[in-house]
Amino acid sequence: MWDFPLLPEAASSTAAEVDALFWILIGVASVFGGIITAGLVYFNIRYRKNSKASRAGAVSEHLPLELLWSIVPLVISAGIFGWGAKLYFDMHVPPENAREVYVVGKQWMWKIQHPQGNREINELHVPVGVPIKLVMTSQDVIHSFFVPAFRIKQDVLPGRYTTTWFEATKPGEYHLFCAEYCGTSHASMKGRVVVMKQEEFERWLAGNRQEESMTASGDQLFRQFGCVTCHSQTSQERGPSLHGLFGSTVRLADGSTVTADERYIRESILNPGAALVAGYKPLMPTYAGQMSQEQLFQIIEYVKSLGGPQIAGERRNP
């Protein structure tokens, strides 16, 4: 019964630095808390009502002291802020070689899709030592994908994509929680992240696949929804070619440019008029309400398979 943890496991490449920052904060808090406590206790004892300590020379103002305990905390704060901001930024920009995994949150479960086709519910299998980028959305309300052992958390929103990334450093099983209240079974919307050695993971991948790869599914959907009628290489007058598109810079009709990332592909399918490509007429119908979040992800994987500049992660707005 007394064998309960006081600190969580650190199982990702950024967890150690988050923990270090945490301990620095504990240190700073202890020092300042200690100073105040010591001050309170000492003054209360020494200057209690009938003590013999001298009360001569009591001051009610001391500008240097005021400035000291304004500026010192300010400087310390600036340092902590800087470190925290830098780490936060790094935690938001996935490495170039990160592998994507797609996540759809819904009341009350996590649906995972690996590009290879494997699907999981409330479980995420990943290989150790490989950066994984999660591309996530919600089917209904706001959820939040939280893996304490990795020190990552990212809200998952309906109507848009959010991303986060991690690199697991230790094989094992770790809690996955939903961390944004989402209704009745919010507390049950949990699962586990299973980190495996790389060969083990490859074997798991091959042996647990019920579907074809996301690219293959996406290819099928591309034909099924008629995308190929305007976006094949032989019909370039109607719609822009998607070959080499992903990750490139697209010039829009209003003169602005945008990076063709997951969000762009999604928006183009659901709301084609919003970002019309320069030189094309607004002919594309909307597919809003016609495909599931998972199907959208599959089409995106298919478009990625058509090639593009290798700038998977950082060009995107964090």
């Binding site: 007394w2 309960f4 943890p5 600190l7 969580p8 945490f22 700073v28 808090a29 300042f32 808390g33 105040i36 309170l40 003054f43 200057y47 209690r48 009502k49 009938n50 001298s54 009360r55 009591a58 009610s60 103002e61 002291l65 005021e66 305990w69 304004s70 905390p73 300010l74 704060s77 902590i80 802020f81 470190w83 925290g84 901001a85 780490l87 936060y88 009341q107 309300v141 706001i142 304490p148 052992a149 020190r151 990552i152 958390k153 809200d155 309906p158 109507g159 848009r160 959010t162 809690h175 929680f177 961390a179 944004e180 209240y181 989402c182 209704g183 009745t184 919010h186 507390a187 049950s188």
Partner: protein, 539 residues
Amino acid sequence: MKTVNEDALQKNYITAAYGIRSWLLTRDHKRIALLYLISITLFFFIGGFFAVLMRLELMTPQGDLVSAETYNRLFTMHGVAMIFFFLVPSIPAVLGNFLLPMMLGARDLAFPRLNLLSWYLYMVGGAYTLYAMVTGGIDTGWTFYTPYSTGYSTTNVVPVVVGIFILGFSSILTGLNFIVTTHKMRAPGLTWFRLPLFVWSQYATSVIILLATPVLAITLALLGVERIFRVGIFDPALGGDPILFQHMFWFYSHPAVYIMVLPSMGVVSELVTCFARRRIFGYRFMAFAVMAIAVLGFLVWGHHMFVSGQSVYAGMAFSALSFFVAIPSAIKVFNWTATLHKGRIEFRTPVLYAFGFIGLFTIGGLTGLFLATLAVNVHLTDTYFVVAHFHYIMVGGAVMGYLGGIHYWWPKMTGRMYHEGWAKFSALILFVGFNLTFFPQFILGYLGMPRRYYIYPEEFQVLNVLSTAGASILGLGYIIPMIYLLWSLRKPRTAGPNPWNAVGLEWLTPSPPPTHNFDKTPVVTEEPYAYEEKSAHGG
């Protein structure tokens, strides 16, 4: 003592008129303060009851006491009751209403009828919200995030939102009253920098109330419109933006936490000076600090949204500003401590609460730095760490300050003194119970236990049991004062005008004061907290 007997026989604001009509139609700020005292105490125990049920459920990892649906209503209603119907009004509506005119040497607030209207608005809003709570409740969390609150929850969202909207007006009118009174009704000689810090903190709080509460009002109104008409303002499925809701909601709700804590800081300044028999250390810094907190408090709302999907750069700006807003609070803590230096400290109950405030607010504030740190916030947000952090400030800070103030001004308000032994014991119980309840929650948070969970992994149980044990002790710390404070009302009104030998205009009046406060408007010639002069003159 002749003065005391005179007090006991004289007509005071309580005995000036009898009958329920004279209370329900009063314009006397002191009577209105008592009306509020009763109402907010009721809501405190309602909110506390919900908390008891929550902590009982959390003793075990499984959901065995209440269902998920019930638990979701419990934490929502605990938050709504405590924040809107207890904390936000508490010190301003009770102590502020009672003391502000007296501390300024005035006969009443600038707009007494508006003050009464404030109380009625509070009662209407409170009654309607209570009605919504008992006829099905609400399960959105006190934060009402969309689209859950507008498109998915099947509970009484609109009635609760309407109740809070009405309460908002109560709050705004009180703030408006305080601002005008402070500007226009100070006694001769009472310049801004001679004001007690309680007045400064009420003023700063009132500025926040005035500017922030309307934004809550419109946010809730839009929420209601979306829910009733099913149109897309914040619901992405209907074309709206859920992050816009969060921005608008937190634009009020962050300054709201300063509405809840600044008044307590004002109380602490009064208590520390009186019981250390010293001027406050760094008066001007203290006054400017509360104003700085009020202003800066409007600039940090995005620190509730670091993982919401808002831009990383916005996050950085909000993080930097959040560190900045901690500085004036730190200055205040240092200055209170320094005020004790070379004092003659007497350990009466009110100042025990003040010391409790300083210690616990410091811990709460320091843990705020953890949450302001971007990379660490990612791990800690939406976990029990946040729950612990805000309870340290709200309960360890604000409520302790409130109780300290109630004990300090009790003799002034009622003419009676409570039993000091029980009061000290209760303060100690409160302090121990509080820490046992909430400190384990910091650990639970770092371990990764999310908030708003009624079930949890086994390994979190021991810390949860400790927390629940603490809560039972904490509860005692609230019940005992109810008993001895009410008991004190059975005694005759013999407390005297100034049982603490304190400095301040309110102590010049009899206890309880007459309806019009002062027979003659006092003229102020001294600096505030002239305790050293008082001691020098044998006072």
